[in-house]
């Protein structure tokens, strides 16, 4: 039946027609995880018992015809979403033993829709990374080529969906952590507008940038998940009332398409970008042109300031957000502390990995007396410039196309010793977070047998249009249907 290939809509049909029960479907994917994940390390936790309970509940809803579109569909959550009674590690030794007593808002919403959590996916420690190599639970492999990274920080989610170990997964995106792994793994990922989705229960990295969203096989599945998780949450006052309540309609008419102008930022296609990737993207642009979209070159002049501003702001917030891990209330605690200072020092020394410590130090430094104005304040000013760049660009064009990453998936270990090179791999994704805009990454082709992703960046709360544009492209192309060979069997 090739269940693993099926989209959410197709799986939902199997359930509704009673061809398969939710329990059988959950077992099917758990079996795939058991047979394939030893090659990928994309899961930290697989909870068969819990998923069985949820699947039984889903079956009862289907029997009573009280099901939604998502009822009974398996999903994997990035291991930074709090899941009640299920280990939530954030990829860190610090939370190796942490079992949350409550569900994150988005987990709660998806549970209420009847989805079945089959596991928690691996990730860069505390979401700090672009390769999923900084996880305490080992690095994640890319199903397209297991010597390559799957991207990060939501690398486990991307790797698992790409290998079809789960139909869909959640991710979080602070500087590209949904879009870049989606791009490296040939998937569709949506980073919503800041405030579209509640952050409550999502373990914070950088609060003013963090936003969660789906990593899926196509735009349609992204829309289904986004519809369920979006909306104001009284537990997160940075969540926004402006997000549309209505379900997304993916249909877009020819007339509407003709009215859309898409901007190509010249700074994004400079010589820093691999020529092969740029070629693949322009082939996709040709398809969009044939569909009727108009294109125009634009400029985002402050582009070169993005990376320093991003790493200062994100690290500053992280240095404070991660203070709570002190060995007193939850998580790792060092053995036999001699005194309070010893407890703090050893707990944090043992509990945090290298990358996390580095960013805590960068952040604490940027906020410290005498350096605040020079670093943190200046980074905030740059952030505003970058946002203004986008706002004036959206006066001229409706959407912006951009590469997701300057390269395709790189080798495991290739960039771990060169932090700057690693940080630069976020150069096209971080500006979107700094501006708080929505963007999707969609697969647009291959280079050297590795997937290439392209970003569709839109104005605030334009998720519906972004997904329409992605969807119309996916109706014309089959890049999103490609499955890595090794995993393309039952």
């Amino acid at each position: 039946m090739d269940i693993y290939k099926k989209s959410i809509t197709e799986l939902s049909e199997l359930l509704n027609k009673k061809i398969l029960s939710s329990v059988e479907m959950a077992n099917y994917f758990i079996k795939r995880i058991n047979s394939f994940d030893s090659k990928l390390n994309s899961f930290i936790t697989v909870d068969e018992e819990h998923s069985k309970k949820q699947a039984l509940y889903a079956d009862s809803l289907i029997a009573k015809k009280q099901n939604t579109f998502l009822t009974g569909i398996p999903i994997a959550h990035k291991d930074l979403f709090s899941t009640k009674n299920i280990l939530t590690t954030c990829g860190s030794k610090m939370l190796e033993n942490y079992i949350p007593p409550f569900d994150a808002t988005i987990v709660c919403k998806l549970n209420n829709a009847g989805m079945v959590t089959i596991g928690k996916t691996n990730m860069d420690e505390f979401a700090m990374g672009s390769s999923s190599e900084s996880s305490y639970f080992g690095s994640v492999q890319n199903p397209w080529n297991i010597v390559k990274v799957p991207g990060g920080s939501s690398g486990g989610s991307a790797s698992a969906v790409a290998a079809r170990l789960t139909p869909v997964a959640t991710g979080s995106d602070t500087g590209g952590s949904i879009r870049q792994p989606a791009s490296f793994c040939g998937l569709t990922g949506l980073k919503p507008t800041y405030g579209s989705v509640s952050r409550y229960g999502m373990i914070a990295y950088a609060s003013s940038l963090d936003q969660c969203g789906p990593i899926a096989k196509n735009a349609e599945d992204c829309a289904l998940i986004f519809d369920e998780i979006k909306g104001y949450d009284h537990n997160d006052i940075t969540s926004n009332h402006e997000v549309k309540q209505e379900k997304i309609n993916l249909q877009i008419s020819k007339d509407e398409v003709k009215k859309i102008t898409i901007g190509i930022p010249k700074e994004y296609f400079s010589k820093d970008l691999d020529k092969n990737i740029s070629d693949v993207i322009f082939q996709a642009v040709e398809i969009f042109k044939k569909l009727g979209f108009k294109f125009q070159e634009i400029s985002l002049p402050q582009h070169n300031l993005t990376i320093p501003a991003y790493y200062i702001i994100a690290s500053a917030e992280a240095s404070s957000n991660l203070s709570r891990y002190d060995g007193i209330k939850f998580g790792h605690r060092c053995n036999n502390p001699k005194n309070l200072e010893d407890l703090y020092l050893r707990t944090r020394k043992e509990g945090f990995g290298r990358e996390v410590k580095k960013r805590i130090m960068i952040g604490a430094y940027a906020l410290s007396a005498g350096y605040y104005d020079e670093y943190y304040m200046r980074a905030l000013k740059i952030r505003r410039l970058i946002r203004d760049n986008f706002i004036s660009a959206f006066d001229k064009v409706d959407y912006i196309f951009a590469p997701t990453s300057p390269s395709t998936a790189f080798n495991i270990g290739e960039k771990t010793s060169n932090a700057l090179e690693m940080y630069l791999s976020d150069i096209y994704t971080t500006p979107v977070n700094l501006a708080g805009l929505p963007a999707a990454s969609i697969p647009v082709g291959f280079n050297d047998s590795l997937p290439v992703g392209m970003q569709i960046i839109g104005n605030y709360f334009s998720e519906e249009k972004i997904l329409q544009i992605a969807n119309i492209f996916q109706k014309e192309t089959d890049w999103h249907l490609k499955i890595p060979k090794e995993f393309d069997n039952e």
Partner: protein, 479 residues
């Protein structure tokens, strides 16, 4: 000593009277079992987020208006980062650059009825920390997070206070404002109202401020005065010996009456303040402020002047009337509708309802007597429909049995007045029967008078104990 001048600035931490905490829905009630009132948010569990309790904004605005301040149209929460076990997130949500209340002043009465203005720099909102309970017995520290997240208003004065007495007057004035407006319960024993004092001394006439020390967490008016006086003397002694003051935090030891060094500022934290990205700025529009202004009652200062000029109440009476805004409202209502002389009204009130409430440890909001009923009662007494000696009995009857005031008065007015002669006879008999106690009285133990009053009250109903007391004294003194 006179060649030295003292400069004091106070930081008052005042817990706001809200049902739930500033950023979570946990209760703020005092005295629960440890950690019973600590929610996931209060514990700083990963992924939790603060949600501002709108009630605290109203209280802060009320306070700002009461001290003639400018209310910030936009104020911002910032994180103050430092590690401490009873601070669950290891940062405190507070305000730095844009506090909700900026500027303002109050007036205190200085020596010889002069008025001194003390400027208030700012007042900002923040969350309280939990409590660390150190146990030497087990050689460990327990953490109670019930208090963590209780809303605080930190009120910072300019360094314009010149001595310990003024500091106490300032603190009492602020205490009076916040309790009168129900911004805080002001309970100092439970830590709802506490202060840090920054104290320095300098040579008289010197412009530059001396090195200051900070006295932390003083929670009574008495200790504020004692701690500051001790600290002034300590600093002057050091300086006169040619030594230097170290800028440091000191704690007042209540039992020994001395201040002790806690930590020096040299090892002070760099708090790495920055705007809290989890919270939106507080935006207050003019109409909101206007609405609160409209609802604001007259402040104690204004009422005091009114009571003095219009009714000539004495200070003791005024203190009682202004001790609780509910009392002020009650009395104002009675003064408005009753024809009885104002001073008499206040005396009737104090000797009946006020005493009852104090005796039974109630608060005035529990008062069961309406202003209208109270007027009827005191007018019936004034018009001699019923004896003054029945005042308390009438009040008790209306209060506990919810009997209509008219019925109560009619019932008692049919009773004859207890005649004086009869009572005098009763007193004389009692005195004869208790010779030992009479001797004690004669030897100076005047408190024994209560014994006789008790005996008489057991035998007769509806008499005023203070009247009986006077009669007994008169008879005892005549023998």
């Amino acid at each position: 000593m006179s060649s030295w001048e003292t400069v004091i600035g106070l930081e008052i931490h005042c817990q706001l009277l809200t049902k739930s905490k500033i950023f979570s829905s946990s209760s703020t009630a005092y005295g629960k079992e440890p950690n019973e009132q600590a929610s996931y948010v209060d514990l700083g569990m990963p992924g939790t987020l603060p949600v501002l309790n709108q009630g605290v904004i109203k209280k802060a605005v009320q306070f700002g208006l009461a001290i003639n301040s400018k209310i910030s149209k936009k104020s911002i929460f910032a994180r103050k980062n430092y590690f401490y076990p009873d601070l669950p997130k290891n940062y405190q949500i507070s305000q730095l650059d844009h506090p909700i209340v900026q500027g303002g002043y109050i007036e205190i009465s200085g020596s010889e009825n002069s008025i001194k203005k003390i400027n208030i720099t700012r007042a900002h909102l923040e969350e309280d920390a939990g409590k660390s309970i150190h146990s030497s017995e087990n050689n460990c520290t327990f953490i109670d997070l019930n208090r963590a997240g209780t809303p605080l208003l930190e009120i910072v004065s300019e360094p314009e206070i010149s001595n310990a007495k003024e500091a106490v007057l300032y603190m009492k004035k602020i205490h009076n404002i916040v309790t009168y407006l129900k911004i805080s319960d002001g309970n100092m024993q439970e830590g709802s109202f506490r202060c840090d004092a920054n104290v320095s001394v300098r040579k008289m006439g010197e412009k530059k401020l001396g090195t200051r020390t900070e006295l932390k967490n003083i929670n009574s008016f008495k200790f504020v005065e004692k701690a500051i006086n001790y600290e002034i003397e300590r600093q002057i002694n050091l300086l006169e010996e040619g030594k230097k003051i170290i800028q440091e935090t000191r704690l007042y030891d209540e039992t020994k009456g001395v201040t002790k060094s806690m930590r020096s500022k040299e090892e002070a934290n760099d708090y790495r303040y920055f705007p809290d990205p989890d919270l939106l700025p507080i935006e207050i529009d003019e109409n909101y402020i206007i609405d609160i202004k409209k609802m604001m009652p007259d402040l104690p200062d204004k009422k005091e002047k009114e009571y003095k000029t219009n009714y000539e109440f004495n200070n003791e009476q005024i203190n009682i009337l202004l001790s609780d805004i509910e009392i002020t409202k009650f009395i104002d209502q009675v003064l408005k509708i009753s024809k009885v002389n104002a001073k008499k009204i206040v005396n009737y009130f104090i000797s009946s309802i006020y005493i009852k409430i104090n005796k039974e440890n109630l608060c005035f909001s529990q008062n069961m007597i309406s202003a209208e009923d109270f007027c009827t009662v005191i007018e019936s007494i004034e018009n001699k429909i019923v004896s003054k000696s029945y005042l308390k009995k009438i009040i008790d009857d209306i209060w506990s049995n919810k009997n209509p005031v008219k019925d109560v008065i009619v019932n008692l007015s049919s009773n004859h007045e207890i005649d004086d002669e009869k009572i005098n006879t009763l007193i004389k008999i009692t005195i004869q029967e208790n010779k030992k106690q009479v001797e004690e009285y004669k030897s100076g133990k005047t408190k024994i008078i209560g014994f006789f009053v008790g005996k008489i009250l057991k035998k007769v109903d509806g008499v005023d104990p203070s009247e009986i007391k006077n009669k007994i004294i008169k008879i005892l003194d005549s023998i």
